[in-house]
Subunit: 117 residues, 2 copies
DNA sequence: TCCGCGTAATCGTTTAAGCGGTTGTTCGTT
DNA sequence: AACGAACAACCGCTTAAACGATTACGCGGA
């Protein structure tokens, strides 16, 4: 039961929910992606990603200097179900908005070749 | 998005999850039922039930002196989905244990005709 | 009607937890 | 060595939980 309480606590923060929504539409993202798309400070982005990692909801993988996070494919089936139920019932406007911000950022990133803007 | 964060926060407490599990197996329960089955103080039981009520997860109905709480049938379909996903993936031992405690309490309640034990 | 009783909600205080910002540290690349 | 990316530690602030005690509510009996 404690496991579920922890799981839901990880989902009880708006920033973390936005992170999850982004990772439902994009297979993997690094800290600086989250930072720029959601307009967060670096420490805030990193802290929330670590939180989701420690909760077992995300996995991380280092590629050179970047640490990429993705939804943990080995999450319990109930966990996956819950994340999908959440994602599917978000207002479409919100997901579109997030998707647009993500695409804009990806363009910028291609041009500057760094996260430091 | 804030709505979801609030919803998940309501589920991020072990006591509240136990309450929900009980209400998934029994259509309605009053404060003193929760109090006795889960061995909580009256104020703690009442407070958590109020919390779940204010989160829209439960409804309440007064019958004489008792206030009965039940799962809100008009909860979003995603909310219902999430509650079911949670309940179905709890360890069966836990649900059996809760069910047994509930039945024991119901026997006691019949005999004494009051909650004041 | 008034009072007592059982039930539930709330109040006030203390204690613990969470979040955010700043700053410093680690790691790896160049 | 210098730099960028990510993480960790500290601090202050806000929030929430626990707890006991008190208050409010309904009902029944004197």
């Amino acid at each position: 039961m404690k496991r579920f309480a922890q799981f839901f606590k990880a989902l009880s923060d708006e920033t973390r929910l936005q992170v999850i929504a982004l990772l439902m539409m994009e297979p993997e993202l690094c800290v600086c992606d989250i930072e720029n798309v959601l307009k967060l400070t670096q420490s805030k982005a990193s802290r929330h990603l670590r939180y989701l990692l420690n909760s077992g909801i995300l996995t991380d993988e280092r590629k050179n200097v970047w640490v990429y996070y993705r939804i943990n494919e080995e999450l319990d089936s109930s966990g996956i179900e819950i994340l999908k139920a959440f994602y599917n019932s978000i207002d479409k406007k919100l997901t579109e908005e997030l998707g647009q911000k993500l695409n804009e950022w990806k363009k910028v990133k291609e041009n500057i070749g760094t996260c430091d803007i």
